[in-house]
Amino acid sequence: MDFNIEDVFRGEKKAVAHVLNLLEDRRPASLEQNKALIEKLSNNARPSRHVIGITGPPGVGKSSLMTHIIREYRSRGKTVGVITVDPSSQRSGGALLGDRARIVHDPNDEGVFLRSMAAGSHMGGLAWRTRHCLTVFEAVYDIIIIETVGVGQSETEIDQVAGTVAFIVQPGSGDILQFMKAGVMEIPHVLVVNKADQKALAARARNDLMVARTYSQSALEGWELQLVMTSALEGWGHKELIDVLERHNMFLSEKGILETFRRRKRIEWVIMLFRERFGAFGFEVLGGEEKVRKMIARGDINNPLERLQALEKKVFCNRLPQRAQR
């Protein structure tokens, strides 16, 4: 299919979908093309965009809540791109991407786009290509929501891509302490107790979260962890939630945190690309992950794919002499 990049920027869904397919292509032959695409997309990122991470254990009603969140943003005149990430089976490589079925939305709405991704062999809560997809959405939509399943320490990558992270729990799950221990609680800016229609249990969950709040690190940046009660079932609380999300976005831009954050985000992207390509061996060749991170931070990182290529060369150069020494 031929396409015009301008169609993508205009939000034509056919073109957006097509670019996503291209960027997901991992064959080496498509690297050059994708590099150019990423360049164009990055240069056209919407300055006012807001990337929100929504995470939480399975069964807390994330998808149902998403239905309300999308609807509310649309009624506020914002366009919304959603990426949902589900785990892949480590044995077969297969994945069930079941969220789409439960997020109710109008297929005719030009201002909403949903894409599901399988995490593949990548650990950390995102998929290998989530960041590529994100770059497209950042050039097209006002609000970008990344939904992941967060249950333990290994799924906390969400804060590397989302400016605002909301963590969803349900009452009576008894999981809250578990999450605190697991480190998930150090990440979110907003805590949401969904299914708060279960009154007594919800009050208890609220108390637990108040305690857990003291574990939060986001307070260090001058933002106090916010608590919101919602009921996707009865359809309330999501307006307040969005008010809080918008307040956090405002906070980010006023504090000037966004720029540093976006830069850090790109550094982590290159790290991820590098890991996908070379694994632990690559880091070893270049003297360790921290050293690689510093190398990346030193230069221009507008185009992570280009940075990857530069590092690629280094890996090949460094490898040869070592071999020769043996």
């Binding site: 996503l20 397919n21 077969s92 297969g94 991407l97």
Partner: protein, 665 residues
């Protein structure tokens, strides 16, 4: 021992047949003809739009109008259905669930117009929403709201129509969805407890009348081929229900604690290969629910031998009825007391089932009862898992299905020689005609009266008034089924139930075959540059999702990335999702017979989005004669219940994708 024939003979069960016709007028003629022959009971099947509270011209009604039953959109349709039939004297059974409150309101309004005494009406509404979430898919509202509706139908009838059976709790569909006997027993009883608790909590029924509520609950069971176990299952049901009624609800009258149930023996297990063998299956399954006098079914409906092939004809149905009559009138079954009394073997099996079922009920109660458990997806996931296990056993040959995975060689059957003519086919012009009648009705009625009635409905519900009573006013005022549904959807919200699919644990490719399929997927992934991504879903209003779920789980297990879209998709949604998700292939499951209406629409919507090159595969009950048309519309592969080998289906999907991308594997 009381085994001799000196007892008075036991009365036979009621012999039912399920019938549906495409319009109110046609159905009325059929009913009148049957009544003239001496039949006293009527059984009404409604089409899916009516069951889902949509009008015939709703976008999702396309291809479904008049398909599995009669469309009833307003009081005139209901009046026509009972034209020259005295409603007061009828015993009417209605298969309706999510929209029960509305349908019974139309029924009462029609009865009142005939001048009937409402308190004398007799009949049954299915009104069981739990199995809709778990298997049949014809639910509308969130579980809590649905339970309120169910409970208000019950309190309305107990107070106003005391002879009505307001609910028929179904385990039938749970077994179809994969339930083991233990799950079937536990989930069904937990369901009944949830319903009774809801009625009790509502306070709409006086305390001294509550035993009547308990006594009016009836059940609808399934009977599978392992008929000894099934026999034990119905005996355990009977025993456990008696105890629950006594202990939990304090019902002292044993008659009110009787486990009253009807049965349709399993039609999903019937095979299209050597279909004449199904007669044997039907008979053995039948044994399980009539042999034991203490737990005998009160009514039995036997499927036709050729149901796996298409809609049965009258002759096919007659054959099934004769099977029942031979059992009741020729054999000596009814002359004996319970022939299993004192059997140690049966008792042991019963104890085992009961113990496990009780543990499962306790688990559900611990999780907060039926509503939270439905919301959590727990039961659905359990069913999908059981079903996966069962299909795997059939595939591996561990579970024998004669004519399917063993003894497959067969002589040509004279019974199926003339397939084309052997099925009842719904007329294509029905939909347009029905929409015409509806539009005409909308023009004739008083618009202001309609608006006022809907306002009253809205306000009344908020104030906690009985929904059936409010709906009767709507019915009289000329509100249509779709308008009632829309208002209710605005009040209670529309629900999408957990699919249960994503919670099912992944399995190692079990046999060497599945492992090979996985290798092929990986190879294809490398060539495509992206992982093979498939969209699976169900277009139309039919919500029987078991097949689609099993394909989704299997596809995941052989390494595909599966976007599971669930049920009730419009052609537009399918095309749009395929585009946004960037899938390589679309797999659709269609069972309601609307495939010929839906396929061209789906293809058109895909072309509109430049997706003409994404291949489509379809699974479902597709008659041979329709296949050609489907292939012509652009479908690449069609799978019917004959194709039980899931690995073969997966290989087919891989081949189609490879071909579409000009890749050699």
């Amino acid at each position: 021992m009381a085994t001799s024939a000196d007892h008075p003979k036991d009365r036979p069960w009621l012999m039912r047949a399920y019938s549906g016709y495409a319009s109110a007028k046609e159905s009325n003629l059929l009913y009148r003809a049957n009544l003239a022959k001496g039949q006293t009971g009527l059984s009404i099947a409604f089409d899916l739009p009516t069951q889902m509270a949509y009008d015939s011209d709703h976008i999702l009604a396309k291809g479904e109008v008049g398909k599995v039953g009669v469309p009833v959109r307003d009081h005139e349709d209901m009046e026509l259905l009972f034209d020259q039939i005295p409603i007061e004297k009828m015993n009417t059974s209605m298969t309706v669930n999510a929209s029960t409150a509305w349908v019974i309101a139309l029924y009462v309004a029609a009865a009142q117009k005939q001048g009937a005494d409402i308190s004398k009406l007799r009949g049954t509404t299915q009104n069981d929403i739990v199995k809709e979430y778990l298997s049949r898919g014809t639910y509308i509202f969130p579980p809590k709201a649905s339970m309120r509706l169910t409970s208000e139908v019950i309190s309305y009838t107990v107070n106003q129509i005391p002879k009505w059976n307001p609910i028929n709790i179904c385990s039938y569909h749970l077994q179809e969805a994969g339930a083991t006997p233990v799950q079937e027993t536990a989930f069904t009883l937990a369901n009944a407890m949830g319903v009774l608790d809801a009625v009790k909590e509502s306070g709409h029924v006086k305390k001294e009348h509550f035993p009547n509520v308990v006594g009016r609950i009836s059940f609808f069971l399934n009977a599978g081929i392992r008929f000894i176990e099934e026999l034990c299952k119905v005996r355990v049901f009977t025993k456990m229900w008696d105890r629950i009624c006594e202990e939990r609800y304090g019902v002292s009258d044993p008659k009110m604690r009787r486990f009253r149930y009807g049965v349709q023996v399993n039609s999903l297990g019937l095979t299209s290969q050597q279909p004449e063998n199904n007669i044997a299956r039907i008979i053995y399954e039948f044994l399980g629910v009539v042999l034991s006098k203490d737990a005998r079914a009160r009514s039995v409906q036997l499927p036709a031998w050729n149901e796996a092939l298409g809609l049965p004809r009258k002759w096919d149905q007659q054959w099934s009825l004769r099977l029942q009559q031979i059992m009741a009138f020729e054999t000596d079954l009814l002359e004996y007391d319970d022939i299993f009394a004192g059997s140690k073997v049966i008792e042991r099996k019963e104890n085992e089932l009961e113990e496990e079922a009780r543990a499962e009920i306790d688990r559900i109660q611990e999780m907060g009862g039926i509503v939270p458990v439905l919301e959590s997806g727990y039961m659905k996931q359990q069913l999908v898992e059981s079903n996966t296990r069962k299909l795997r056993q059939i595939e591996s040959g561990e579970k024998v299905v004669v004519g399917v995975n063993r003894f497959e060689e067969a002589e040509p059957s004279p019974l199926t020689a003339d397939e084309e003519g052997s099925f009842y086919v719904v007329d294509d012009s029905v939909e347009a005609e029905q929409i015409g009648i509806l539009e005409n009705f909308r023009l004739r009625r008083e618009k202001e009266q309609v608006a006022r009635a809907l306002d009253h409905l809205r306000e009344g519900i908020e104030k906690g008034k009985n929904i059936v009573e409010l709906s009767i006013e709507c019915a009289r005022s000329g509100v249509t089924t779709g308008e009632w549904g829309k208002t209710m959807r605005e009040i209670f919200g529309e629900y999408r139930a957990p699919t249960g699919v994503s919670l099912v644990a992944s399995d190692i490719p079990q046999t060497g075959e599945a492992g090979k399929v996985n290798e092929r997927v990986r190879k294809l992934n490398d060539k495509l540059g992206r992982n093979l991504k498939i969209l699976i879903g169900k277009p139309g209003l039919d919500g029987h999702s078991n097949g689609a779920e099993q394909i989704a789980v299997k596809a995941r297990d052989v390494g595909m990335e599966v976007v599971y879209e669930g049920i009730r998709l419009t052609p537009e949604q399918i095309a749009e999702s395929a585009m946004q998700e960037g899938v390589h292939i679309i797999g659709l499951s269609i069972l309601s017979g609307s495939h010929l209406d839906l396929m061209p629409e789906i293809v058109r919507n895909m072309k509109k989005r430049g997706l003409a090159d994404i291949p489509l595969v379809v699974g479902g009950i597709i008659p041979e004669a329709d296949m050609k048309k489907m292939y012509h519309a652009g479908v690449k592969k069609i799978y019917t219940p004959k194709d039980f080998n899931l690995n073969d289906i997966m290989n087919g999907i891989i081949d189609v994708v490879a071909q579409a991308h000009h890749v050699e594997l």
